[in-house]
Amino acid sequence: MATMAFNRALPEIKTDPTNQPFFDGARAGKLLIGKCNDTGKFFWYPRGCSPFTLSNNIELVEAKGTGSIYTFTVMRTKEPYCVAYVELDEGIRVFTNIVDCDLDSLKIGQKVKLVFKPTQGDGPPAFMFTPA
């Protein structure tokens, strides 16, 4: 049995001045991730401080946009959708959706690649993943 991912209506993402640069990146088709310049480590989710040192010696860098499924689930609502953590090739696990595929065929460890989906209103698009 196949369950095709439904292109559900996505609520508008409410941004704030701290995360605005991340979402400006999303509008430009880029997935940006946090990088702590004190430790050299990447972090998720993007924020105004390093979760390793609490300093603001941080920057946003562009991720390659490829990774693998760490875990997932299919919400069996009227419009089924897949919620997942994808482990980016940069090593961090991001909360996301897997789209544009048969949701019954997904497996942990499966390779995925970046896509963007529009949200309602004038907000930025949401980054998601689809099987590579």
């Binding site: 409410k14 704030d16 972090f43 998720w44 989710y45 919400m75």
Partner: protein, 390 residues
Amino acid sequence: MSTNGKGYIVGAFEHPTRKADNTSVAQLHAEVAYGALQDAGLSKDDVDGFFCTGAAPGLGPLNMADYLGLTKLKHLDSTDMGGCSYVMHVGHAVEAIALGKCNIALITLAGRPRAEAMATGTAPRSWGVNVPDDPFEIVYGRTVANAYAMCAMRHMHEYGTTSEQLAWIKVAASHHAQHNPHAMLPKVVTVEDVVNSPMVSDPLHRLDCCVISDGGGALIVTSPEIAKSLKRPLVKVKGHGEATKNQNAGYTDLTYSGAVWSGPRAFEEAGVTPKDIQYASIYDSFTITVLIQLEDLGFCKKGEGGKFVADGNLISGVGKLPFNTDGGGLCNNHPANRGGMTKVIEAVRQLRHEAHPKVQVPGCTLALAHGTGGLLGTRHGSATVILERE
């Protein structure tokens, strides 16, 4: 400084309602407070410490203290860590009593999510405004159900845990619930019933989920001196531990919970080990919640929870670790979507030897109550208490 033995639970009351159409949340708080005070043999004006959470109507404890007519309060605490808050409150109350900040602490919980037709587990929701993780999670349809389901999926992947093993947790809860006249789901179910129930969020079926119920509960915690002057069996707080588990800056691991920290803290303070525990109240928002917490509390090795819970090992009178003998959140109730309160209440019943005779652990003298609050799959609080009948 240890707080082992510095506080006793002398009052416990669980509201019998499961659907509270014709009352208010504030009035439910009043009814559970009155019930717990009656149980302890105390009255409202004896209370000088008050504990509730953000789920109580109003500004912290302020509006409820006013509604309840609590005029002698010297110590207030509205620590809110979701469903485990009330387990934390027991620990915090003992700390306050040990320091002389108050003598008689009242802890209350009440809510009406069922009467309000709240889609507790399957509708995306935020915990408030200005929450920094919301822009990175709400748009993806994060719900309570899918945040726990992802933990189950990963646990199955790493350790070979099966849906049938998870189902045993519901089966055990249902064996207990059949003896509870207030339980929402009093019918005994089988492993087949669970795995054949509709899928909610893979791999969690409808019967892997807790109920949605109205109601509430209250506890009274006091000093050793006052406890010994009252007429109820003595239930001593021997140990308490709490923790938060974060998403860990993107290096998240969903196979364990904050119980890996709160559990050892409580056991160390109590001076006992998991092998000594005769009865355990384990937060059961979903079957997977129980399995992961049992491993993390040290009742079995990490990854062996599936084998541990199978074949009735959690059924009172049958298995080695009787759990949630009121039917738990899985079958009895989950008032206000917060199960920590009822976890402590059933542990108190067991230690008083006042559980239903069919599920009472014979000679029960040492019990544990443990809760998780928030989402196991993102960030959550964890609290453990160890209680002893004296």
